[in-house]
């Protein structure tokens, strides 16, 4: 693997967007157990095929999922490269920050008096 740089915001935004939807997260979870056809993806979600195909487009644009059509069946799989890239754990780092800063907000709300409200002008 070569050393590379990437523009972080675009792929991250796509990945965040792709996973913002519970149905798409369900699809990714299903695919983490192995490849599946579009109808196999649709079944547990109780969704129409066109709706699943729409979600699939978003997942493919994010790079998380690839699909190929063999005969009449489109088989979807997770792209292990996308999951292994630094992006996925950079976004994890980012979300760790998000959680911590939320916790900081809760801490500040719980301690309205404290600490060191220094007297400054």
């Amino acid at each position: 693997m070569v050393k590379h740089m990437l523009n972080q915001s675009v792929p991250l935004d796509r990945m965040f967007h792709a996973l913002a939807d519970p149905a798409r997260r369900g699809m990714v979870e299903r695919l983490s157990r192995g490849p599946a056809s579009v109808s196999e993806l649709a079944r547990p979600l109780g969704m129409s095929l066109p709706a699943v195909v729409q979600h699939l487009h978003v997942l493919q644009a994010s790079g998380l999922v690839r699909s190929e059509k063999i005969g009449r069946v489109r088989t979807c799989r997770l792209d292990p490269k996308a999951l292994r890239t630094a992006e996925s754990w950079i976004s994890a780092r980012r979300s760790q920050w998000e959680r911590r800063l939320d916790r900081l907000g809760e801490y500040l709300a719980r301690h309205p008096e404290a600490p060191t409200q220094r007297s400054r002008t």
Partner: protein, 154 residues
């Protein structure tokens, strides 16, 4: 054999808190304040914590996650402007593997009676952090983390 790689990434996160900059700053600058929110995910237990908040001072937060993996945050403070700015550099280790080296800049800006906090991280993320190479693990980990972030409308 480890495939060596470096990915450089920069991101910023902004929050507005209903608290004056001095209070928000104190939550970063005092051991009680920092320990109340700067922790690992649910199921995380602290192994070691060092907090020496001054220019040149060291901070260390080592803990064990639910999976039993050891995370180790080792940091040094480079710039401190009371109620205004903190700059520190840190390295993250997972199970003794250095996974990233970053510069973090925290800015505190007064907005009305509150504070706008901007955290910017500029990092060198090392070797793709392909932990155990397990796709399923990687997926679950990604989803868990993103899920938490997305709930707050990231």
């Amino acid at each position: 054999m480890i495939e060596r790689s470096v990915t450089h990434a920069t991101f910023s996160i902004e929050r507005v808190y209903d608290a004056a900059p001095a209070r928000v700053f104190a939550a970063w600058a005092t051991p009680e304040g920092k320990a109340s929110w700067f922790v690992g995910p649910v199921g995380w237990t602290q192994i070691e914590r060092v907090f020496d908040f001054r220019v040149g001072g060291e901070e260390r937060v080592k803990g064990s996650g639910e999976s039993g993996r050891i995370s180790d945050f080792r940091s040094h403070y480079f710039d401190i402007v009371p109620d205004g700015r903190i700059v520190y550099a840190y390295e993250m280790h997972i199970d003794d593997v250095r996974i990233s080296v970053s510069l973090a800049t925290v800015e505190f800006q007064a907005v009305g009676d509150g504070t706008r906090l901007v955290v910017t991280e500029q990092g060198a993320f090392l070797d793709g952090y392909d932990d155990a190479g397990s796709r399923e693990h990687g997926t679950r980990w990604l989803l868990d983390n993103l899920d938490a972030a997305l709930r707050y409308g990231a």
